[in-house]
Symmetry: none
Amino acid sequence: MSTIDLPQDFAALKTLIAGRAGVMPRRLAQVAAYALEHPDEVAFGTVASIAEHAVVQPSTLVRFAQSLGFEGFSDLQEIFRDRLRERLPNYAERLQNLRAHAQSHAKTSLIFDGFSEASEKSIRDLRERLDPAMLEKSVERLSGAETIYLIGLRRSYPITAYMAYAFGKLGVKTLLVDARGGLAAEEVGFASKQDCVLAFSFTPYASETVALTQAQAARGIPLVAITDSPFSPLANLSDVWIEVQEANFEGFRSMAATLALAMTLTVAVAERRGKM
Amino acid sequence: MSTIDLPQDFAALKTLIAGRAGVMPRRLAQVAAYALEHPDEVAFGTVASIAEHAVVQPSTLVRFAQSLGFEGFSDLQEIFRDRLRERLPNYAERLQNLRAHAQSHAKTSLIFDGFSEASEKSIRDLRERLDPAMLEKSVERLSGAETIYLIGLRRSYPITAYMAYAFGKLGVKTLLVDARGGLAAEEVGFASKQDCVLAFSFTPYASETVALTQAQAARGIPLVAITDSPFSPLANLSDVWIEVQEANFEGFRSMAATLALAMTLTVAVAERRGKM
DNA sequence: TTCTATTTAGAATATATATTCCATATTGAC
DNA sequence: GTCAATATGGAATATATATTCTAAATAGAA
């Protein structure tokens, strides 16, 4: 059996197994049925534990994997694990798959696919993980502010730039702190305790963002932080902070989840303001 | 340490780790940060492989787990595995819960839901509609340029700001045309036929973007346009243009699809450049 | 039925993996 | 600075795990 037509993802594996369902020896068919019915067990279990559940011998699992063309059971198990971790195949793997299936697509489309998937995954993850109470607290704090100071550099700058624009249209007073004129520290220095700082920073945390935010926190200016880990230098500066982790493709992190969150904050704050 | 207060699920684990983030020894903090950032790797990896990725010794992982009260690393790993097990089958359920929960509790969560769905829909739509041939042409034209002039104002400014940042990191020469100093027309006037203009504009097309782009097209500068309709004033300025329609929530259009496209162009152009 | 080709069970083995241990390094209090 | 307490690196070890192997069982063809 050649290595070329090995299934690379769960869908392909299912197809392969379904195609052979009729001509499989009894015990192998038993394994196949169990595997498709309990994919989680297969992903996490050991050969021994899975064999026990499927009521076969451990060696049967190995033979099953080999009969599908895998070298051993571990290779087959990887497919089940990838399914759970929703691993986005990287560019090189995509190209390989493409060649294997001889479909003629454009290379750039693959890259677009990758970024689309990263965006979708990021949003899905944040939907599951976002803490509604903390979101509410953020909106409350921001809507209480006279002026919102937006701090975000490098990768986070597009986010704050968007918010400055949208808040502007909605009549919420903001100050976009950028490092352009080298006056960032002076600008944000005008913030008072009636204002609020909204800071964005992600690994590797831009030192200027961290320094500016720390300085304001030390002065007792209310702060809302958006960052990617409890270990972020922004996380321990404020009791109100939101964790956002973006998936990446080829090392380029999506911004889709952060942007959706930014839009949410913008609209929610404007709406609450309007009611007061 | 007693066994009683051991975290039983991922959320509790995160809380526990976040609480100790400040008072953790260096290497243990390093493990904690890695674990929260790459929960999938921790779920599936071996002590050796995880240690390698986190750049610590295998024994550090065991000590980390023990410092949290677990008997060994394997017990801790179970929490990470449970997290993945729960997710896939219950996803639809969780979404429903989120909606139900949001309705009773927090209005802001509903807004976030709305923006998430708009983002997901936008990306899905673009994946279906994007013409690979036109995408390829865009990459070709952009990668042939000496300098890429990025034009995008208002809602499109975050996109061009992102591209300017990412292109910069990748060593591709760009000029971000913004209206800050009122010098946009002069800046973009330096463009030559060896360069390329990449313009973004969506309804209602910002007059300045349209004017700047028209002027350059009239001078014969190569142009790639990203816009939202064949009737856009940008669409008939260039034979190379891409249509992107974003879904909106409460009148606020998503930017997820445009951003995924922008990332694609950035990476594809940089890659093609690298090969020449 | 009889014979042959497959398939299977289970033990044996080789490999991978988590954990422990201890000498060395680092940190923090005085 | 000095000392004690704590943390770390890396080798050693015990354990778990996948895989292989062989005799026995089963199925299929004549």
